[in-house]
């Protein structure tokens, strides 16, 4: 009888408890995504980072993701559910998840949280983001050398510091090599709307731009540039396959190394709350291979800029920098602080129009 009970108990455990029993040994890693993993943009890159964790640690980890989580009232519930279901570390990969992450983290002191692009931290909440503007400095210089009309079209999603910083870094680098060139900005108030992104690219080309760059997620502007015989830069991933003739290079977000490092810290028990703002030096930002349409001297210049940024010899926001009215806001020899960069809400000289806010 006792044996029979034992067999039944074992069977019950086998059926219901097996997953949990195995899960105990593994580090569970959760991801909360704002878009679908198939967006081929922001979320796609974070999911590539998740896959890098799986590739690195194999059976030691178990990863989970919840995609297309609305930044409104749903976010807190999803993060909480991941915490309740035994995840050891949870990455929340959009700015709008900041306050929900902080709220949930308070109730789960033993779970580690990592919030992307935010500014609020706690003992169990780290923040991380990429210095995407470093990539903008590289493409700005390329654009400055390659433009003939001296007008660059820039498609922006939302007028937040992240995007404004990119516009300014691009413009500063652009005018360093070509003081005549200017930047035209169009805001779409959406991260992803291929039709509108294409319309915006057409508009900018119609208004005289001969190079398009974007801070939205779809490859539509690249395709329009290709159709019209203009050049363009890709966003987040190497987008060259969508428009080989127009694509000059892309700024690539590579979250993999950071994610692997943080999960390793959890496995080793060395995880601590940190603020990471990684750039080209740590490989969080990288440039896609330059297209054959980029002339050799310009390619050499771009590679030199990359090398200088990585070595710390060049800062994208080094003075002299003028605001739109022509007043010097950063003197020669000085560099903007991270604090100033994080709160940036103005255009530099060379950007047309006024910043909506």
């Amino acid at each position: 009888m006792k044996e029979l009970l034992g067999v039944v108990a074992a069977a019950v455990i086998a059926v219901f408890g097996a997953a949990d029993a195995f899960a105990q040994d593994k580090v569970k890693v959760g991801f909360v995504y704002v878009g679908p993993v198939d967006d081929f943009g922001w979320t796609f890159r974070h999911d590539e980072g998740r896959k890098a964790i799986e590739a690195e640690f194999g059976d030691q980890v178990e990863t989970t993701f919840v995609e297309s989580v609305s930044e409104g009232p749903d976010a807190e519930r999803v993060i909480r559910q991941l915490a309740e279901s035994g995840h050891d570390i949870i990455f929340t990969t959009s700015f709008g998840f900041m306050n929900p992450t902080i709220k949930v983290a308070k109730d789960f002191p033993n779970v580690k949280f990592e919030h992307a692009t935010g500014f609020k931290r706690a003992d169990n909440v780290s923040t991380y983001s990429g210095r995407f503007y470093e990539g903008r400095a590289v493409i700005g210089a390329i654009a400055g050398k390659m433009t003939e009309s001296n007008i660059i079209g820039y498609i922006g999603a939302f007028p937040i510091p992240e995007v404004v910083r990119g516009i300014n870094a691009f413009t500063i680098a652009l005018r360093k090599v070509n003081p005549e060139a200017e930047v035209k900005v169009v805001w779409l108030n959406t991260w992803f709307n291929p039709g509108q992104e294409a319309d915006a690219a057409k508009t900018l080309l119609d208004q005289g731009a001969d190079i398009i760059t974007q801070h939205t997620d779809s490859p539509a502007p690249l395709q329009v540039a290709a159709e019209r015989g203009a050049f363009a830069f890709g966003q987040a991933s190497d987008n060259s396959q969508f428009a080989p003739e127009a694509h000059l290079t892309s700024i690539i977000d590579d979250w993999g190394p950071y994610y692997v490092e943080r999960v390793r810290a959890v496995i080793d028990g060395t995880w601590e709350s940190e603020d990471t703002w990684g750039g080209m030096d740590v490989g969080m930002i990288a440039m896609a291979p330059y297209a054959s349409t980029v002339p050799d001297d310009i390619r050499a210049m771009a590679e030199e800029i990359e090398a200088q940024i990585i070595a710390g010899d060049l800062h994208a926001f080094a003075g002299p920098i003028n605001d739109q009215a022509g007043n010097e806001i950063v003197a020669a020899g000085e560099v903007m602080s991270d604090e100033q960069l994080l709160t940036m809400d103005f255009y530099v000289e060379g950007v047309q129009g006024s910043l909506p806010n």
Binding site: G30, P36, V37, T64, F65, V66, E67, S68, V69, S70, E71, G72, P73, D74, E76, R77, V78, R80, Q81, L82, E84, S85, F95, G96, N99, F119, F158, P159, I160, P161, N189, L342, T343, M344, D345, P356, N357
Partner: protein, 360 residues
């Protein structure tokens, strides 16, 4: 050959039986769907329907998610009964949230117990104000409220974006598009500490009860029902069409605005660029799943909320993509909508010869 024959009156058994049949059909097709997609079929079903209710916060998560769906659907159902097609509750929700949030920000430095009731009133007024536009255009210019209310959703979204990107931006928020976090005086109290469920849920229950009384037992409810079912008779009886249009749009807008207030004050705690995962649109489905009946809407809202929670759960537990959850949810809706036919019609088998005559 099968034919549908109208029943003389609604079959009482089918009122309760048809949703059960629909659920059974969904489970059956769900098994097939998951099997085709290569997942062990039973586990996702369990995780979809049952797992979300387990655990410390299961039930409260469900009630919290259902609150705005039920509140908005209650308001919309009255309009739908009167053939007033307000499909822009999403916009009314947004403006309600903006009004209530604006009040919270205006009195940011003042700690008064009057703030919360004020926000409730402002939320309702905001929703009503946004609904007043289609009401006015319909009664004054005969413009379809279905389209104007829908178009105004997009406008409301941009109003919210403008405010959180511009004048109402948190001065200490690194220029990110969000307002300051509301103080305790502007936060809806929790029903039980340790859960996220707030005062919104009892408000939704009150709305259900009130709607049940109004629609079933009051003259105005009678007028609304007659205006929808028999407009000519309503006109003949001297019921004012304008009055019914205004009234139903105000109720719908007010309740949508109230839900907007509940979400930003109780759940989110600030104004942010995205404050709704499409509650205003989902509530339309809830209203019809509930057969435009307050009690039905209560259950439909809970089931709909469960389908969202379930969709998240199968992602967490089974690694199913969100799209599969959406597919399954769509299937559930199809079966539920289709099953209502059993209530009003009998399915009879007709002999082939007879059928040929009937269709020729």
């Amino acid at each position: 050959m099968i034919r549908l024959v109208p029943r003389q009156e609604v079959a009482p058994a089918m009122v309760y039986l048809s949703p059960v049949i629909a659920l059974a059909a969904t489970v059956l097709f769900g098994l097939i769907l998951f099997a085709i997609l290569g997942f062990p079929p039973l586990d996702p079903l369990f995780n979809f329907f049952v797992k979300p209710l387990l655990g410390p916060s299961g039930i409260t998560n469900l009630l919290l998610k259902a609150t705005p769906l039920i509140l908005i659907a209650i308001g919309l159902s009255m309009g739908f009964r009167a053939n007033v097609w307000n499909i822009g509750a999403e916009g009314q929700y947004t403006i309600g949230a903006v009004f209530a949030g604006g009040l919270a920000l205006a009195f940011y430095d003042i700690d008064t117990p009057l703030l919360l009731p004020g926000m409730i009133v402002f939320g309702i007024l905001g929703g009503m104000a946004w609904a007043a536009i289609p009401a006015f255009l319909r009664t004054r210019f005969n413009t379809s409220e279905l389209l104007t209310s829908l178009m105004l959703v997009y406008v409301a979204t941009q109003v919210l974006l403008y405010l959180v990107h511009g004048p109402w931006k948190d001065p200490d928020g690194f220029a990110f598009p969000e307002t300051r976090l509301f103080h305790d005086a502007a936060t809806l109290p929790r029903l039980w500490s340790g859960t996220r469920l707030n005062l919104g849920w009892p408000l939704a229950l009150i709305a259900v009860f009130a709607a049940w009384i109004v629609m079933g037992r009051s003259l105005i409810g009678f007028q609304i029902r007659v205006s929808g079912a028999a407009p000519t008779a309503a006109r003949f009886a001297g019921f004012s069409e304008r009055r019914v249009i205004w009234l139903t749009l105000m109720i719908g807008g007010g309740l949508a605005g109230l839900s907007g207030m509940i979400e930003v004050s109780g759940t989110i705690g600030q104004l942010v660029p995205i404050i709704s995962p499409g509650y205003g649109f989902t509530a339309i489905i809830v209203a019809f799943l509930g057969r435009l009946n307050p009690i039905g809407i209560l259950f439909a809202g809970l089931l709909m909320a469960l389908s969202f929670l379930g969709g998240e759960m199968v992602q967490i537990e089974n690694g199913l993509p969100r799209s599969v959850g959406g597919l399954f949810q769509g299937m559930l809706l199809f079966f539920l909508l289709a099953s209502d036919v059993l209530m009003n019609y009998r399915i009879v088998r007709v002999r082939t010869k007879h059928a040929q005559v009937a269709t020729s």
